[in-house]
């Protein structure tokens, strides 16, 4: 009951230090959203709207940049070129070499979609990283998972792909390692790929919420104002930290995808 009162007070903005309502700690409830509107029985919420918006931004930007490419590029085309060349040179080439260039459209869309989805936590009004809902991460991981298994089957053949999991190791330990390799490919790789992105975004948003709510809660004509200033400083600090984390997580996700692709495309050695 007390929680309900605090939440209600926080919702109306009336919850401050010494007002008797206690600190309305952010939690899982901040990741559940009301239905904004309904389309044909589909309840659209804020994270879904953000996901659609990010997808549209990526599509429209690259469409505008490369629909009619010119030899002497204009501003948008230059920006688009810089963007995809950064993905090519920092993510694809180091892992896949030149043969990976054909995955440039996939990796670029993936990288910029994830970056935008993450950065939405720092945009006023939107203020939510859609990737902190695991429902958005799982389909991405599923697509990538199916894709690199398919590439493995295509490159090495059905049995060849599974045979390529057998590591080059001394015979006495080989049987013990096969189980580890199977667990790595089947369970750990997709799990860590998804959980890393989701957990970072979830924790980042929660951290930012904790300090934002604390600043509001502590602000008032009392000693709390001093602590509110400290909390506000932390808001700015975490904001900058999250800016870095958002970019880094998109980079790590795409880099890992390209290493998994490289693993699938690597010529069979056994």
């Amino acid at each position: 009951m007390t929680g309900d009162v605090a939440a209600a007070a926080a919702a109306t903005g009336g919850c401050h230090l010494f007002s008797g309502c206690g600190y309305p700690a952010p939690g899982l409830q901040d990741f559940n959203f009301r239905t904004l509107f309904t389309i044909g029985g589909w309840n659209v919420t804020k994270p879904e709207l953000i996901a659609v918006l990010c997808g549209l931004i990526v599509i429209v930007f690259f469409w505008v940049a490369f629909a009619k490419p010119k030899l002497i590029p204009g501003r948008t085309q230059s920006l688009g070129e810089m963007a995809i060349l950064a993905v090519r040179d920092m993510i694809i080439r180091p892992n896949l070499g030149k043969k990976g260039d054909k995955y440039l459209p996939l990796m670029s869309s993936l990288f910029f979609f994830i970056v935008l989805m993450n950065l939405m936590e720092l945009i006023p009004v939107l203020q939510f990283p859609a990737m902190s809902r695991i429902g958005f991460v799982i389909p991405l991981v599923a697509i990538i998972y199916v894709w690199y298994w398919y590439l493995g089957f295509k490159t090495k053949g059905f049995f060849g792909y599974f045979r390529s999991w057998i590591p080059t190791a001394p015979l006495f330990i080989l049987p013990l390692l096969i189980l580890i390799e199977v667990a790595k490919y089947v369970l750990i790789q997709p799990f860590t790929l998804g959980i890393r992105l989701f957990a970072n975004m979830f924790a980042g948003h929660l951290l930012l919420s904790v300090f934002m709510v604390a600043t509001w809660y502590l602000a008032g004509l009392s000693i709390g104002l001093l602590y509110a200033a400290g909390s506000l400083f932390m808001v700015f600090f975490v904001f900058l930290l999250e800016l870095l984390v958002d970019l880094l997580q998109a980079f790590i996700f795409t880099t890992l995808v390209s290493t998994y692709f490289a693993d699938s495309l690597e010529a069979a050695q056994h």
């Binding site: 060349l85 580890i180 390799e181 890992l256």
Partner: protein, 102 residues
Amino acid sequence: MSADDSPRGPAGAPAPRRTIASRGRKTWASRWNGGQPDGAAAGPGVGSEAFSYIAAGLVAYGGIGWLVAHFTHIEIFLPIGMLVGVAISLWWVVYKYGRKSD
């Protein structure tokens, strides 16, 4: 894509093309990979790969330990399985990545 992103000399003249062979198979991509040939599992992926192995060892042998513990009702098999898995994975990570590549 830029129209021409090939390397250029000081006066804008095309620089002599350096083939992979002329550089002893060390492309800039391979330098990122810590000197290993292109396609070798190294660079930013190594840390993640090592973590994957350790987690896989924990899950695989922890799973076996759990099964044994479940059927024998001797619970110590679960932590034993996990420890054995981590030990094997660690050995494998050190064996695979710990050696110097040329």
